[in-house]
């Protein structure tokens, strides 16, 4: 059980974090300091289980006139069960980044450091999120498998990213080649996708393209209808064993999404599978733009939700 918490922050944010901790338990002794150069030896951090909540900048060697970190502070952080470094910076603070810094600063417990982005001094401060962190760090196991939401690792998303870009290329080509004859409807999935990706305005206007760009789009139009367009990026060994490549793509997407593949993406993968199975049969070798549009809209809506 945790009996002490060290808070290090040169700003008044430390008071807010102290309130967060105190709202959870009055039995935890909170020591809040404004500078790493202060002496905390009298609090006996070296001998009791404790955690440290530190503002990232206050550990930098030369910030705000701090010329050094007091040995007692270093000991308190070094012997902490968990160190949570926080920042309000818009770039966030990833755990691998702060662990690298901790190693650079010669902290032996760098694998127990976590980065978190929480705007303590703004109205966006996620008080329940910080409470979850303290509760988790205070628990006996505090395992990585049970990380509180604000400490979640950022995993690779390269398959989702790639697929959403392929969708955009496919839809843009479709719009460019067909807009001269059939006007899309801004209210249908295809139109919504073009508007969401920025290729079209709500009034139906498409991006103005130079002749050179139109030529480029026309040049690749047929290539975009082929299976290589959808699967080559996911075939690093260039096996062209599309069934296996497609299975691997499914598996990676499921891992990245951390859940079952949603219907819109699944439909696109099934459409790609049909093209693979068609073995060059022209009637089945073209994926419907509506299916691609729905897949893109899934990524788009997820992104919009994450930003609100």
């Amino acid at each position: 059980m945790i009996s002490k918490i060290l808070i290090l922050d040169s700003n008044d944010r430390r008071k807010k974090i102290k309130e967060t901790v105190k709202s959870l338990s009055c039995e935890i002794n909170v020591v809040a300091i404004r500078s790493a150069s202060e002496d905390v030896s009298e609090h006996g951090f070296g001998s009791v289980p404790h955690i440290a909540l530190v503002h990232k900048n206050d550990l930098e060697p030369d910030v705000n006139g701090v010329t050094g970190i007091h040995d007692s502070v270093k000991l308190a952080i070094q012997s902490a069960k968990i160190v949570v470094a926080y920042t309000g910076g818009s770039g966030g603070l990833f755990t691998p980044t702060i662990r690298g810094k901790a190693s650079e600063w010669m902290y032996q417990n760098s694998e127990h450091w976590y980065g978190v982005n929480c705007k303590v001094d703004s109205s966006e401060y996620d008080n329940p999120g910080m409470q979850e962190i303290v509760e988790w760090a205070s628990s006996v196991s505090c395992s990585d498998e049970d990380l509180p939401r604000l400490l979640g690792y950022t995993t690779s998303v390269e398959f989702q990213t790639a697929l959403s870009i392929l969708c955009q290329g496919y839809l843009a080509t479709e719009a460019m080649c067909n807009s001269r004859w059939t006007k899309y409807q801004p209210s249908d999935d295809f139109g919504k996708a073009l508007i969401g990706m920025g290729w079209a305005a709500a009034n139906g206007d498409l991006l103005e393209l130079s002749g050179e760009v139109v030529d480029l789009g026309l040049e690749v139009k047929d290539d975009l209808a082929g299976i290589g367009f959808w699967l080559e990026p996911f075939d690093p060994e260039k096996t062209r064993d599309w069934k296996t490549v497609l299975e691997r793509l499914r598996s990676h997407l499921k891992f990245e999404l951390k859940r079952e593949i949603p219907e819109a993406i699944s439909d696109l993968l099934c459409a790609i599978e049909i093209v693979v199975q068609s073995d060059g049969d022209a009637a089945n070798s073209r994926i419907s733009p509506a299916i691609v549009a729905r897949a893109f809209l899934f990524f788009y809506q997820e992104a919009m939700q994450a930003r609100t």
Partner: protein, 179 residues
């Protein structure tokens, strides 16, 4: 949700806007303002502000300028076409996709507006800095604390301009936005 790892541009933006401007220089400016308002006396700090902190601004503002100018090339999702897995595509398709995602991104997040607004704030901060510098220089021969007192309006204008610059730079997206 698609969340890409930090890029060099974001790391540089963080170093300038969050680490230096907000958590270092702004705090220094606030203390200088208090001295100028005669709420506190600290001639030693005033001297350091004039001799060290202000010249530092001239260096850091160049970093801000480079940040703004490099935003479009560094943060466009177009850069992802040069990385795996999309770099495995045929060159011609990659060129087309690069054009599509870049044009869409510019249109979607209004890149030109963001860059223009930040550039304007940067020039305003720079102008406010020179007015303050000129004011301080014209009071040469007196104690630094007194120089700040005489230049309070310029100092306040400079502080506000720096705040506006920080806000404008913080409006740039913090991630490469694919959608």
């Amino acid at each position: 949700m698609i969340l890409l790892p930090e890029t060099n541009w974001q790391a540089k933006r963080n170093r300038f806007n969050h680490d230096w401007l907000k958590n270092k220089f702004s705090l220094t400016l606030e203390r200088a303002v208090k001295i100028a308002q005669e709420r506190i006396e600290d001639d030693e700090f005033a001297a350091k502000f004039i001799q060290i902190a202000l010249p530092e601004f001239e260096i850091e503002i160049q970093n801000a300028r480079a940040l703004i100018e490099s935003f479009e090339s560094s943060m466009s999702p177009r850069v992802l076409l040069d990385r795996k897995p999309l770099n495995r595509l045929d060159d011609c398709i990659r060129d087309w996709l690069a054009f599509v995602v870049h044009a869409c991104w510019k249109n979607r997040i209004r890149v030109a507006d963001l860059v223009e607004a930040a550039s304007k704030r940067l020039e305003q901060a720079f102008a406010a800095f020179y007015r303050l510098r000129h004011c301080i220089d014209s009071k040469g021969g007196t104690l630094e604390g007194q120089q700040l007192v005489c230049c309070l309006p310029g100092l306040l204008a400079f502080r506000d301009a720096c705040g506006e610059l920080g806000t404008a730079i913080s409006k740039f997206p913090s991630r490469i936005l694919v959608v």
